[in-house]
């Protein structure tokens, strides 16, 4: 278990480690271990996310949950930023919303997202985000990379053309299943999720075939074989329970 010795609260003066701050001009309270995203959700404030999933550790990979914090120039991701006393957070300023749209559009350009013929058409978190943020077209040129489909596994297949590198598959396989079959290779735009040491999924020695990665994947990148277009509906109700049963509260794969 990690030791979150934060210095934003002096435990001798504040043994309960609670603090108060403001989100969108509303006073909220939080434990020092709760991220801005958690606190916002507790108070009914929606912040769009993609790589976040209840039941998995936070990663801050997608940067869609960025918020403005008064006094700080950088926009910070709410899921991995922890509040300080009297912090002022703005979740939906014009600047923030503008950047969120740009990030989403860049996600669309990076890979080949052909919604019309995708297994997750209609059940896709990327699509839902486009609707939520009002993205009707992408202003940046598409890259059209040449990426493969690995259908070597007997029950599942991975289509790298649809991956958004949220790394939920990596996290769930490591934290919940414990096999750590998935990891990433490459850097920047050449990053790709891989099984074992970039070997075909079907020949993986570590994969248990549990299918959790398929269920947590937000897009149609990971899917069950045989599901045709628009048929891949994910089930992730099990996740918070599994996380609880495993006894993990606040671990992170990278920290």
């Amino acid at each position: 278990m990690k030791d979150h010795s934060r210095t934003n609260v002096r435990s001798d003066l504040n043994p309960s480690r609670l603090l108060t701050f403001r989100i969108d001009d509303r006073d909220v309270s939080a434990h020092e271990n709760e991220s801005i995203l958690t606190v916002a959700r507790q108070n009914g404030i929606t912040i769009p996310t993609l790589c976040h999933l209840d039941g998995l550790s936070e990663r801050g990979a997608c940067r869609l949950c960025i918020v403005e914090i008064k006094g700080i120039n950088k926009l910070l991701p709410a899921c991995v930023t922890f509040p300080r006393q009297d912090m002022e957070v703005i979740t939906a300023s014009e600047r923030v919303v503008g950047y969120r749209k740009k990030i989403l559009e860049l996600l669309f350009t990076e890979r080949n997202h052909v919604c019309a013929v995708c297994v997750s058409n209609g059940h896709c978190e990327l699509q839902n985000l486009a609707v939520e943020l009002g993205v009707s077209h992408v202003r940046y040129p598409y890259l059209y990379p040449h990426l493969a489909v690995d259908a070597s596994h007997s029950r599942f297949s991975v289509d790298h053309n649809r991956c958004v590198l949220c790394l939920r598959c990596v996290r769930v396989c490591d934290e919940i299943e414990g096999a750590h079959t998935w990891d990433i290779m490459g850097r920047g735009i050449t990053s790709q999720v891989i099984t074992d040491l970039n070997q075909p999924w079907g020949s993986s020695e570590t994969c248990t075939g549990c299918g959790k990665c398929v269920q947590v994947c937000p897009t149609g990148a990971l899917s069950e074989k045989g599901k045709s277009v628009a048929e891949m509906i994910k089930r992730r109700q099990f996740l918070p329970y599994l996380q609880m049963m495993r006894g993990r509260q606040d671990t992170s794969w990278t920290k």
Partner: protein, 130 residues
Amino acid sequence: MAETITIEPISRIEGHGKITIILDDDGQVSDARFHVTQFRGFEKLCEGRPYYEMPSITERICGICPVSHSLASGKACDAVLGVHPPETATMLRRLLNCGEFIQSHALSFFYLSSPDLLLGMDSDPAKRAI
């Protein structure tokens, strides 16, 4: 004298086309050609995709007859897997196909052919618009 007449674009068809008629020196038709001026390459773009996506991808070949392409693709998938769909499925496919006949024939007649057939081939094109 030799002349080439080009008719472009061909209107009221699905897709793109062009016709060139070559007249010889006597003004007689020596050759007539039909060119299809659009090519999307479905044969190649489908490569590398899982077979169960094919019915959806091939549907995008044509917007008026997507059902035919989807059914043909479905039958190809059956052949690939070596299976026979149950009788109900076959009947449903037939029903779907018949539905498409009704839609496609009605569309083809009412929107694409009837302005020319009912108003006459030589009538004013402006009046023959939808």
